[in-house]
């Protein structure tokens, strides 16, 4: 029995032995498969996975530089950076659906549709672990509310960063311009490396022109992060190069007086230092608050600004073109003297109008009765139109074109500013090209008093005035001081005889005292030479009179005034334009001269 059992047992053992060997072979094969797979991952795919592991681990964060500050000539800050708090969202940390999340979030702080739309537009551009900004400029209450509720929303992140601020809000808006979020078009142009981590760019004005100067260069920080994007340790840190500051010739005091003087009017003022070419004031009214643009202007306000009939976004000082009107007369006089067409004593009886030989049409003087016998001096002083109709005919359009161009009209001034208009000085060839018409003699007549096709900007007028003040010495206008490119040292002088300058400037000086047209400026402690102007917007029919009450206000004449002071050794030249207002330009100029000389006294 026992023997039988043992035999049976041995059979069983043999049977299971087979199985065990089978198992052993299976395990061997399985081990080979696993080891092969692991060796494949660790040897052949090693570099791939090493890169992936580092991608996981290392976050390279750009550190944006702080934008350069902008100072006026006294060292007053007119554009700086202030700390601002931004609410950002880490989309990966949102536990509920996006719409539920927004509903919950709206219970804590107000979020406008504009902000949501912008968020949805930009969120594709961010990486998985990056926080996407949703709401800028949080106030203290909002920060407090968010901080209290943050435990409920791990996706919320409040970050502090520097944003641009213009402390004088409206005062410098046209000259400084503003910064804003980089848009799609700008994104395609800019160098991605220099703008790493920077979300704003200079959009207009000096902020645009000196973008690279103010920008700086971003630094970066490379940090090891965990799976939730939290920084575990900083690996290395390259500090950013901050933007350089910009010192301007602009004088905040003058700018403020100029701006206030134009308040509730439409117009522009450009004042510059005749010695350096430095722009002292550059005002265009009405204006806007550039701070609204820094973190993205809301579309309603932007629409308002854009559709406003007074065009507050339009920089009249450099882009607005106006007929120079009578302010052109000193240049016409210089041209005629230089061409030896007249002598200063040449006299002419003004009947109140001028007629071209063989034409019926009467070109009227502004004083319909006429001003009797006028010579060059009285013609400038009293702004006699009839006299200059004559001069224009004597000069011919080609000479008018030549001399106005010499004074910078019709050409882009070389100013460190992005948006500058060229204006227009007509000529025979211009008319042929653009109007497909020959030049008519009548057009020459009105060109003599700066009307007709002629279009100039307040900036050009101020520069031409400075040129007269400097007796023909050409200066390069500048807004910013610290630019090496200034070439005012090289003395380019217009080839016009000294005595001619003297005659014209003397007449301009007398023009600001009675009975001159600029009599409102008389009795100032400083000597001034100036010339008024009245730009007609509509032509008055023959035999009719200009009557304010019968035409709409937007067609009323523009008041112009150019002046410089002191007459000998001039320092400041300016051009003032007040749209649709006749008389205020001279008074505004007075205020500017006053503040300029008061400043000078205070400085002493």
């Amino acid at each position: 029995m026992a023997h039988h059992l043992i035999k049976y047992f041995k059979e069983e053992i043999q049977m299971t032995t087979y199985r065990i060997w089978t198992v052993a072979i299976l395990i061997f094969i399985a081990s080979c498969i696993l080891l092969g797979r692991i060796a494949y991952l660790q040897i052949i795919e090693y570099n791939t996975f090493k890169t992936l592991a580092n991608d996981n681990r290392i976050l390279i964060q750009p550190i944006p530089p702080s934008r350069g500050l902008i100072f006026d000539c006294h060292g007053t800050i007119i554009a700086h950076n202030k700390p601002s708090f931004t609410l950002s969202i880490l989309p990966k940390q949102i536990t509920s659906s996006w719409s539920d999340f927004v509903i919950e979030l709206k219970k804590i702080i107000s979020i406008t549709d504009d902000e949501l739309n912008y968020f949805n537009r930009v969120k594709k551009k961010y990486k998985l672990f990056e926080a996407i900004p949703l709401k800028y400029n949080l106030n203290d209450t909002e920060i407090a509310c968010l901080s209290v509720q943050q435990y409920r929303f791990p996706a919320l992140k409040i970050t502090a960063q520097l944003i641009r601020e213009y402390p004088d809000d409206h005062l410098f808006s046209h000259v400084l311009g503003y910064v804003g979020r980089i848009n799609k078009k700008e994104k395609s142009i800019i160098n991605k490396q220099t703008y790493n981590g920077i979300h704003i760019i200079g959009k207009t004005g000096l902020e645009k022109f000196y973008e690279s100067h103010l920008l700086g260069y971003p630094g970066y920080r490379s940090a090891e992060i965990d799976v939730n994007g939290r920084i575990k340790k900083t690996l290395y840190h390259v500090p950013p190069v901050h933007g350089k500051s910009l010192h301007l010739y602009l004088d905040r005091n003058i700018q403020m007086v100029a701006s206030n003087a134009l308040k509730n009017k439409r117009g522009a003022i450009v004042a510059l230092d005749t010695r350096t070419g430095g722009i002292l004031a550059l005002v265009s009214q009405p204006t806007f608050d550039p701070n609204e643009f820094v973190t993205g202007i809301n579309s309603k306000l932007y629409h308002q600004l854009q559709t406003n009939i007074d065009k507050p976004l339009f920089n009249r000082a450099t882009l607005g073109t106006y007929p120079p009107a009578s302010t052109l007369k000193p240049i016409m006089a210089l041209a005629a003297l230089d061409q030896n067409l007249i002598t200063p004593d040449w006299e002419f009886f003004d009947p109140g109008y001028y007629q071209l030989p063989g034409f019926e049409h009467k070109y009227r003087n502004w004083k319909r009765k006429g001003q009797g016998y006028v010579n060059l001096h009285t013609a400038i002083m009293k702004s006699n139109d009839t006299y200059f109709y004559q001069l224009a005919v004597k000069l011919g359009i080609n000479n008018i074109h030549k001399y106005t161009t010499m004074f910078g009209y019709g050409e882009k001034p070389d100013l460190d500013f992005p948006a500058i208009a060229k204006g227009l000085i007509p000529s025979e060839s211009w008319k042929k090209t653009y109007c497909h018409q020959p030049w008519y003699p009548g057009e020459t007549v009105i060109a003599g008093i700066g009307q007709g096709y002629m279009q100039t900007t307040p900036l050009q007028m101020a520069l031409a005035t400075a040129l007269i003040a400097n007796r023909g010495k050409i200066i390069v206008p500048r807004l910013a001081k610290n630019q090496a490119s200034i070439s005012n040292t090289s003395e380019t002088i217009l080839p016009i005889s000294k005595s001619h300058w003297h005659i014209v400037i003397k007449a301009m000086q007398d023009a600001i005292s009675a009975p001159g047209t600029g009599w409102r400026l008389q009795n100032t402690p400083f000597s001034i030479a100036g010339k008024t102007g009245t730009a007609q917007l509509i032509s008055i029919a023959q035999g009719k009179r200009y009557d304010k009450t019968k035409i709409k206000k937007s067609d009323w004449d523009h008041g112009l005034f150019i002046a410089f002071s002191p007459v000998e050794n001039p320092e400041i030249a300016l051009a003032v334009i007040v749209e649709n207002e006749h008389n205020s330009a001279v008074l505004i100029a007075k205020k500017i001269f006053e503040i300029y000389f008061k400043n000078k006294l205070d400085a002493r």
């Binding site: 069983e12 797979r37 090693y46 592991a53 996981n56």
Partner: protein, 378 residues
């Protein structure tokens, strides 16, 4: 013939005093040494993957202590006694499983844990250990190979705990318990042609169905069914991060405590299911090789003991424990290297976890007992 073998083995193992001392404790020195080595390795890797959490290491060491105590006890109980007692434990296990369903606790709706004197344990894990022994004890009452009646009864014995575990619901463990029983029947000597036929039909059939007839969401549902803890959206992430951890380890690894994937929490479940990835990341292919060598040596030793066991019950128990052990290791590693779907199987003796560790060590206790008591037959 068997006697010659035993004599030879005695001569081999009497080489040192150390092994004599272990033998007096009925411990097989080779297996014991390899198990201790694995446990030490486990503590080292756990220390790293838990970010130097000593509390956790102490806990795991205590679990290991309990496990070694189980080895000592089981090594002293003769396999014959175990064969008689196992049905009682089987019934106890089933009772515990029922109890779990009534008053268990667990995460994500699955009731698996039982709180007992401040300890939490998983009766289903113990069932993995009891199941093969029970089946072995049952079928070796009759001459082998089993007939259909015996197979049917064995299947019933398996079905009761399997259904109870599936009800928790924990289909993954249920399937593993079922497999642990099935393996015994396979090892007891089903006709090989029958096994090959079933396997050759089932394996490609399953593969074809999986790849061509199931939609992604259906596969996900099946996988989630197998392992309820599995996050259907996160599974891909787990595997990607695990492969990155392993691959970036290279040949020599990133160095101990220097694995960026595990240290920065990119690697999920680094202490449990994905502990192998931590090892591969920090010690590279070299570390993987060492682990494989220890595993294979331990399995070979167990198979050797099975081969020289003195009864078919002992033979079956030892070989099924060895096969299950290697199967768990294969499934776990296959999963973390991205060859197999993510099912919640820990790396035996290395992953964190109390019950699984203790029941695995208990299994080795049985093998020790088999090795120690084999002379008694003569």
């Amino acid at each position: 013939m068997a006697t010659d073998f035993i004599h030879q083995l005695n001569k081999d193992t009497e080489l040192s005093n150390q092994s004599n001392r272990l033998k007096r404790l009925n411990l097989d020195p080779v297996a014991f040494f390899l198990i201790v080595l694995l446990c030490i390795l486990s503590l080292f890797i756990l220390y790293s993957s838990s970010h130097c959490n000593t509390h956790l290491i102490v806990r795991q060491a205590i679990h290991m202590g309990i496990g070694f105590f189980m080895i000592l006890i089981l090594a002293h109980i003769s396999p014959k006694k175990i064969q008689h007692m196992i049905f009682f434990y089987y019934l106890l296990g089933v009772a515990l499983l029922i109890f779990v369903l009534i008053s268990g606790s667990g995460a994500k709706g699955a009731m698996r844990w039982l709180n007992c004197f401040g300890f939490r344990f998983q009766p289903s894990e113990f069932m993995k250990f009891i199941m093969p022994i029970t089946i072995a004890a049952y079928i070796t009452r009759y001459p082998l190979p089993c007939n259909y009646k015996q197979i049917f009864v064995a299947l019933i014995l398996m079905a009761i705990p399997v259904l109870l575990i599936a009800k928790q619901p924990d289909l993954g463990t249920a399937i593993l318990v079922f497999l642990s029983g099935l393996i015994v029947i396979f090892l007891s000597g089903l006709k090989i042609s029958y096994i090959v036929l079933v396997a050759s039909l089932a394996a490609p059939g399953f593969w074809i169905v999986w790849h061509f007839f199931l939609h992604t969401y259906q596969k996900n549902r099946v996988l989630t069914f197998l392992n309820p803890d599995r996050d259907p959206l996160g599974a891909g992430w787990h595997i990607i991060q695990s492969k990155i951890a392993i691959g970036s380890g290279g040949i020599l690894g990133k160095g101990y405590l220097n694995g960026s994937q595990s240290y920065l929490n990119f690697l999920p479940e680094g202490q449990t299911d994905f502990i192998f990835s931590v090892l591969a990341e920090e010690f590279g292919l070299l570390g993987v090789f060492i682990l494989f060598i220890i595993y294979i040596a331990l399995i070979i030793r167990c198979l050797y003991i099975a081969l020289h066991a003195s009864s078919s019950f002992e033979n079956l128990v030892a070989s099924s424990i060895a096969l299950l052990f290697s199967m768990y290791a294969f499934i776990n590693i296959g999963m973390v290297v991205g060859l197999l779907p993510v099912v919640g199987v820990p790396l035996p003796l290395v992953s964190r976890g109390g019950t699984a560790l203790i029941s695995t060590l208990a299994g080795f206790g049985l093998i020790m007992s088999i090795q120690a008591h084999k002379r008694l037959l003569q």
